[in-house]
């Protein structure tokens, strides 16, 4: 049984996931959300399987591979995989429609090479 970790049960926030614009298909975490938490998305309880850090994005609904990701009511890129509602949206499943995103390897990734 996953821990029920809704904002209401924490009693400090109205929403763990913030909707910035009605047109959006993603939400923004206003606090870090632990793995296996249940949060509220559009008045429905959704299980968050993998942790989502503060300010990272979660899918508001199921998103097909190739669909545009919409935040602030604007397109911010495209899905590169199918994304389930409540799933973390980041570099592993979406990309820019303009420019590649550059990241640096962690120390452990360097050591694995």
């Amino acid at each position: 049984m996953p821990t029920v970790n809704t904002p209401q049960s924490q009693g400090e926030l109205d929403n763990a996931l913030l909707l910035l614009d009605d047109r959006d298909n993603c939400l923004v975490a206003c606090r870090s959300i632990a793995a296996n938490s249940v949060v509220d998305i559009d008045q429905q309880s959704v299980l968050i399987i993998y942790a989502i850090d503060l300010a990272h994005k979660a899918a508001r609904k199921d998103i097909a591979c190739g669909d545009k990701i919409v935040k602030y009511g604007a397109v911010i890129g495209s899905a590169t995989l199918a994304i389930k509602r409540g799933e973390h949206i980041h570099l592993h499943n979406m990309q820019s429609d303009y420019l590649p995103t550059y990241i640096i390897p962690t120390r452990s990734e360097i050591e694995e090479r």
Binding site: E12, L54, A55, K57, Y72, A74, I76, Q95, Y98, P100
Partner: protein, 392 residues
């Protein structure tokens, strides 16, 4: 607010003396002079390159005659390409005390440092007698930038600055937002706010130019820390950055070293013209801050999520922290806790008002956090703009 009145009629909120190296070879001597006055407002700026560059010349001319600057000491090695006497004339024509020391004509390092220090000491006494006058909000020029952005920036600090900008524009100030490379993806919605069809066209052209420039360079204005903080793409970062501009009409697109003449909101186009040359347009945030200051900014509002600590030479920087975790981690560096919005400890309007009040406070002699800690970062590199653009 209380301002220092310059002979050219401009009003500054600081009364700094600049020591300026005109090539990297003169940097040590200039730094040595500036460091002899740790308790006074003596600041170091310069240009590292030996080859002349019209953009660098324009930027420097604008910086040394900034309203926050009272006097200037130029340090030249002697053989570099910078037009030192042209720069000196611009300063003397503005009514500011100026002196040029050429190291090769002053028996080298030690003698130049000695002569320079004596001039600074004498000139500081003169500067202390600068007339002060009252200054109103409608005489202010305010710039904004974001750096170390994360997923909170676009929700808290940037729109908070946007609220402050709306208030400043409504009260008659001149406000400048920038970095067209960080607005890639927003050109369509941004152009809808243009005050005229021409401005709308200028906005779209400026952003398209930036997109081409960054495409050639291989990646855009997106750092690994942005991704750690939850931002995935340039467009997403852009949308957050765009929120700094508030909701006012956009009255024009300006270029580095161009001081907006009328009240309103301006987009600063920092991406060079023509084919890609000299590398990345702005190698770090400080280069953009200096460009905002070259457009006359008395103050720069800096939104940060991951936690930047920078200030700037010439004009104070107010750090608006977007992320509540970062604020708790680095509160001594942050002027505003904008992240409180996502923890339901405040509203955007409250944050906007706090920023507004802090700017007015700077005009009454209060120092920002980065000023208190001695941050006086500065960057100026090579760029190319079409003739006339960077020299308005």
């Amino acid at each position: 607010m209380q301002a220092y009145l310059r002979e050219d009629g401009s009003k500054g909120i600081r009364n700094s003396l600049l020591v300026v190296y005109l090539v990297e070879c003169a940097h040590h001597v200039a730094r040595g002079i500036s460091q002899k006055f740790p308790d006074q407002d003596v600041q170091l700026i310069g240009f590292p390159g030996c080859y002349p560059n019209s953009y660098a010349q324009s930027l420097m001319e604008s910086l040394v005659t900034h309203s926050n600057v009272g006097a200037v000491l130029l340090i030249s090695l002697g053989c570099e390409g910078f037009n030192r006497y042209g720069l000196e004339k611009v300063i003397s024509d503005s009514g500011r005390p100026v002196n040029t020391l050429v190291i090769q004509e002053n028996h080298g390092t030690a003698q130049t440092m000695e002569t320079g220090s004596q001039w600074v000491e004498k000139t500081l006494t003169q500067l202390a007698a600068t007339a002060t006058v009252s200054m109103s909000v409608n005489e202010l020029i305010i710039g904004t930038i974001c750096g170390g952005s994360d997923g909170t920036s676009g929700i808290t600090a940037n729109p908070g600055i946007g609220r402050a900008f709306d208030q400043f524009v409504a009260k008659g100030a001149r406000c400048i937002f920038e970095e067209t490379g960080e607005l890639i993806g927003c050109e369509g919605i941004m152009s809808e706010r243009a005050a005229s069809a021409k401005v709308a066209k200028d906005i779209v052209q400026a952003v398209e130019k930036a997109a081409i420039y960054y495409d050639v360079l291989g990646h855009g204005s997106f750092a690994p820390g942005n991704a750690d903080g939850g931002l995935t793409t340039q467009e997403e970062k852009s949308m957050g950055a765009y929120a700094k501009s508030g909701a006012s009409n956009i009255d024009g697109v300006i270029y580095p070293a161009q001081i907006p003449k009328r009240t309103g909101l301006y987009l600063l186009d920092v991406v060079p013209d023509g084919e890609v040359r000299f590398g990345f347009p702005n190698i770090a945030d400080s280069a953009e801050i200096i460009e905002l200051i070259s457009c006359g900014a008395h103050v720069v509002l800096f939104a940060t999520g991951r936690g930047s600590v920078v200030g700037s030479a010439i004009s104070p920087v107010i750090k608006v922290c977007a992320n509540p975790q970062t604020y708790r981690n680095m509160c001594a560096d942050m002027d505003v806790d904008a992240g409180r919005i996502i923890e339901n400890r405040g509203t955007l309007d409250e944050v906007g008002q706090e920023i507004f009040d802090l700017v007015v406070g700077l005009g009454n002699g209060v120092q920002s956090k980065s000023e208190q800690m001695g941050h006086r970062e500065y960057l100026l590199t090579y760029k190319y703009f079409s003739a006339g653009r960077a020299c308005a």
